[in-house]
Symmetry: none
Subunit: 121 residues, 2 copies
């Protein structure tokens, strides 16, 4: 009994990586698709219930969604100009798994970000 609108999932795919409900909504609007914000919220929630997407919280409290199992990467963000470079997770992946295991955590994901000043700034 999927209550999820397929176009929402589609948009999330197109977005690549994380997107908030509001972002998905605006993406769809810009793409000329007619949909209500309520439906976007309901669909994302349903996708999360079905374990099709991961839910996280951004620092500002907004919920962000991502397709599960997506190859993920991390970001190197410049505090000056805001530029973000995608970088591989490397050692983090193992660290996360080890730490989680050590404390008996299941169904584990992680987020990591490096910030600093880039060469130009």
């Amino acid at each position: 009994m999927s209550r999820s609108n397929p176009r929402v999932l589609n948009t999330l795919e197109r977005a690549g990586g994380f997107a908030s409900a509001q972002e998905v909504y605006h993406l769809m609007q810009r793409a000329g698709e007619s949909i209500g914000l309520t439906t976007v919220y309901r669909s994302l929630q349903s996708l999360a219930d079905d374990k099709i997407v991961d839910v996280l919280r951004r620092d500002d409290g907004e919920s962000i969604y991502r397709l599960c199992g997506d190859a993920h990467h991390h970001h190197l963000v410049c505090k000056g100009c805001g530029d973000a470079i995608e970088i591989p997770g490397g050692a983090i992946e193992k660290w996360a798994r080890t730490m989680a295991e050590e404390h008996g955590f299941r169904d584990v994901g992680h987020s990591a970000e490096i910030y600093g000043l880039c060469q130009k700034c």
Copy 2:
């Protein structure tokens, strides 16, 4: 220039573990202390800026605060109950430094968090 009301820190200590701004506020009310919600928010924010307390997000989006040990650490957060365990950074520290160096970034910091379901959930 501390903008933090000492009674707020005091209450957070008494609370033990995590407490949200609203919870701290109600605790103080119940204790007969006169304080405004605004001041509670400002004080907790200031304590967080000064790295005296840790800030996390509960699943419902509410921010929760806890006195933190001085060592640099990361968090293992349960998606179910919101419990957070402090864990050492380990490999991450080096990873962050390496990645930053590789791209010529200076003045580098990082954030990382692992989330999953704890044994109880």
